[in-house]
């Protein structure tokens, strides 16, 4: 199967129709949700935290971060900030009225937050894109180093990050993890279902200092031999329910909030409709 990174730059690959197709596919929703829960397990958050979502796309992970502990999000509800290079993906996130703040930004250009902003960071199926440079002045090494340096600085001491990504080969896996180590992180790679077509690679990163266990060996040792938890059980069998993000779903969510006395955005002809910001 060909890799999207080899076909087009990310902002062109994730255009309006691909972003919509991606977000409404129940298969993709399930896979991204499982990986988000897996990453959350490794982040080990016990109370509402400030989280960065790198390559947040249409907010599939973000919706989980915003959920409460009772609804299956450890330590939640968290407050998150997401950024993505695709305006179309962010447009879909806007339509769904996700709770996190969204930015149009390129992770390969850095992370524009002051030092120690975030308790944790998450990135699901995105950073393999950093191994491609779209212009001749730029390079994968430069992009990875700006990203990991910026990420390291933006996390508080003792903070953690988990990046699930799809390395093209072992060389790429090494390139990514060594860029993280060079930026100062303690880094470990965790593989679920290795050697199968469902293999998933997680780069687990820790920032030393602070009150949490900054020692990466501790984190990964803890995970060793842990079976992949079936987050599907926790989850949301949507049979018979409105499809998440559909107009009916948004209206239902608004009604629920209104009935709790919340001011919600006025329902307009744009609600649940195609949105794309023209920059």
């Amino acid at each position: 199967m060909s890799r999207p990174e080899d076909i087009l730059p990310p902002d062109l690959f994730y255009n309006d129709s691909e972003s919509r197709k991606y977000t409404t596919s129940s298969r993709i929703q399930r896979i991204q949700s499982d990986m988000t829960h897996r990453a959350l397990d490794m982040l080990d958050l016990t109370s509402p935290s400030m989280i960065l979502d790198v390559g947040c796309g249409s907010g599939l992970s973000g919706e989980i971060l915003s959920a409460s502990d009772e609804d299956g999000t450890p330590g939640g509800p968290h407050v998150w900030i997401g950024f993505d290079i695709s305006a179309s993906m962010l447009g879909v996130a806007l339509e769904k009225e996700v709770e996190g703040d969204l930015f149009l930004a390129d992770a390969g250009q850095g992370v524009p937050f002051r030092a120690g902003t975030f308790d944790a960071a998450i990135s699901i199926s995105a950073i393999q894109w950093l191994c491609n440079a779209e212009t001749s002045e730029d390079s994968p090494a430069g992009r990875l180093s700006r990203f990991f340096n910026g990420l390291y600085a933006s996390l508080r001491r003792g903070g953690r990050a988990v990046c699930q990504f799809y390395p093209k080969n072992d060389e790429q896996k090494q390139m990514v993890s060594s860029a993280a180590v060079k930026a100062g992180f303690g880094a470990g790679l965790l593989e679920d279902d290795p050697g199968t077509k469902n293999a998933k690679t997680y780069l687990v990163l820790t920032v030393g200092g602070g009150d949490t266990d900054g020692d990466i060996t501790g984190v990964v040792r803890g995970m060793d031999g842990v079976d992949v938890q079936d987050s599907r059980r926790r989850g949301r069998d949507r049979h018979g329910k409105d499809v998440k993000g559909s107009k009916a779903w948004i209206l239902r969510k608004k009604e629920q909030q209104e009935s709790r006395g919340k001011v919600v955005k006025a329902t307009s002809k744009y609600t649940g409709r195609k949105r794309r910001i023209q920059w």
Binding site: Q109, R114, W279
Partner: protein
């Protein structure tokens, strides 16, 4: 974009890194909106010591919001004393916590721009989304 986020965002341009004037970014020509959410007291307690209070005050003033006290509230100021508990869920927010929630998590910049005080670069905000993509030579 929540005012909370403005308390952490800096200019992305390489030459502004570390320059005190590149934080906070200054909202210009902005249109604000209120988007209500449930108050999250444990989150407020968590984030409070990480706020740069002077920047919270500067931004409020620049947006024409009511003046804030010169010193930041403390964690104790956020919890009704009678409700202080080991269990976060038991704690009741004070008016100070509610006001902080309103200001930082419910007040949002919907349209406008954010301007760096160091290089004067303008970041556009549309529908609450800020554009931080930079031309290659500024990275």
């Amino acid at each position: 974009m929540k005012l909370l986020t403005l308390n952490f965002l800096t200019c992305a341009i390489k030459t502004c890194k570390g320059s005190p004037a590149s934080f906070p970014l200054h909202p210009r020509d902005s249109e604000l909106e209120i988007i209500e959410t449930d108050i999250n007291l444990p989150f407020l307690k968590n984030i409070l010591p990480r706020l740069t209070w002077d920047a919270v005050r500067t931004i409020s003033t620049e947006l024409g919001l009511p003046e804030l006290p010169a010193t930041a509230p403390t964690r104790e100021d956020l919890v009704e004393p009678s409700s202080t508990s080991e269990d976060d869920a038991e704690e009741v927010p004070t008016q100070v916590a509610k006001d902080l929630h309103r200001l930082l998590l419910e007040t949002c910049v919907k349209e406008g721009k954010l301007v760096c005080g160091c290089c004067e670069h303008e970041y556009q905000v549309k529908e609450g989304v800020a554009n931080f993509l930079l031309p290659g030579h500024l990275v």
